[in-house]
Amino acid sequence: MADNGGKKITLKSSDGEEFEVPEVVAMESQTIRHVIEDVCAKNSIPLLNVNSKILSKVIEYCKKHVAAAEAAASKASTEEGTAAAASVTKPSDEDLKTWDAEFVKVDKGTLFNLILAANYLHIPGLLDLTCQAAADMIKGKSAKEIRKFFNLKNCISPEEEEEIRRENQWAFEEEKRTRAFDAYA
């Protein structure tokens, strides 16, 4: 990323650590962007809801995405003709996707905090990425397994439990039915 000596801003995590980042990176967060735009220049923005570990991950994400956008923009402007530009930007899209996939390979505690941070700081791309990662963790799991995985309490009423049992039996029916059909056929 071109470090052209642009304006820098300091972000301070809840546990007191300070991160100096280019303003353009910090502005990936719409929350921070509005602080910068609406308020006179502040040297340091405290973020009491994000600890240093998570903030450093968030900054890493923002840096990468700003860099990728800048690279794509500069390549598009230097290439002659849109066809050439299109073929050049595609590989970098793939690279970014790969990078994103690696980025969210974290434990679920960290993922949880990343979701909250993405929401709090209003970073749409990061929110999408982290929520999708959580959704991918859910795939293929039964209700019981999901509950165990996320350490959730089962507060279902007996009536609802009956309904849920019926739904699950119907949804997961094919294992039973396959056996029944084997017997019949």
């Binding site: 600890n51 929401n119 999708q132 209700a143 350490n151 609802e160 739904e167 039915r177």
Partner: protein, 378 residues
Amino acid sequence: MNPSMSDRRGSRARRRWPSLSGMMSALVVEQLERKTESEPVPEEEQSDRWSSLLPELLGEIVRRVEAGCDRWPQRRDVVSCAGVCKRWRVVTQSVVRKPIECGKFTFPSSLKQPGSKETMTQCFIKRNKKESIYYLYLGLTHSLMDLGKFLMAAKRYRRGAHGEYIISLDVEDMSQGGYSYLGKLRSDFLGINFKIYDSQQPDDSFKLLPTRSGSHFSSKRFGSKRVSPNPSVGNFEVGQISYKFNLLKSRGPRRIHTTLQTSSQTSKEEDSLLHEYKPESPKLKPNSVVSPKLVLKNKAPRWHEHLQCWCLNFHGRVTVASVKNFQLVSENDQEETVLLQFGKVGDDIFTMDYKEPLSAFQAFAICLTSFGTKLACE
């Protein structure tokens, strides 16, 4: 990106503050410093925090789960989400759309909701002649060799002078008081007049299946041998089907006349096809709701001189000639749009295609009437 989320966040941040720089800085800093519900927690407690996730954020996650499983069997992930805990259940139910909008089955309640308006929902029925059991599946691919998603099953019983098909979510539980009971189809002795009964009031079918109140637990819980239907699960008449006498007295096509009670929640365009439905069953209370009715008749096949048979265009979905095959259209529809189509494709396998305003349950019940001999009719 979810627009409602960004609007909520964006509007709060975009508020224009008065240009008193000192006060402004303080106010904005206060906004950032204001503790939200997600306070920083030590690492070891983080795994417990998922239970505190904002409903909107949980919705973002569940929405992505739902979007990622269009088809069965993967779609059971959505059902899993709905069974995790109360909060997840509420969120999942709000994320899932009805079959009429998305053309997909998600919960058993989908079975009693109208199908897609645009396309025919393609299903198939497998018959076990020996046991008199009929299994309805949603077709998952165009090949009938694939298993499909099981929807419901019906078993035929003799009840004195009548025949009855009990329709249930679970083949192993065909009792009327059972947890999985959906409804039944009752025929007269001749097998030409039928009535469809729904276990729930028709407009309740948009809720999930009925549950028992504390005082009406079934025999399973108390271990008694009660056989009578559970009082909180009823039998509401929702349709009548008649096969008309065939005046030619040969193996000509049957004439089928069907009257169905439909939900008042089907699309407005269908209103012109609907009149008031007045069920004949005396079991209904006097002040029960009278819902719009749909009258269907079968599309008349044409005699094909060359092939020497009666023909209907089933668009490849029916491949074996049979007197059971039919297409139903609305009595009032000049264009004769096929709303239900049923026909044989193999010894014990039949296709069933239907669309809005019919539901899978109604379509299946109507198709069941086609089985069995019809005395005095052919």
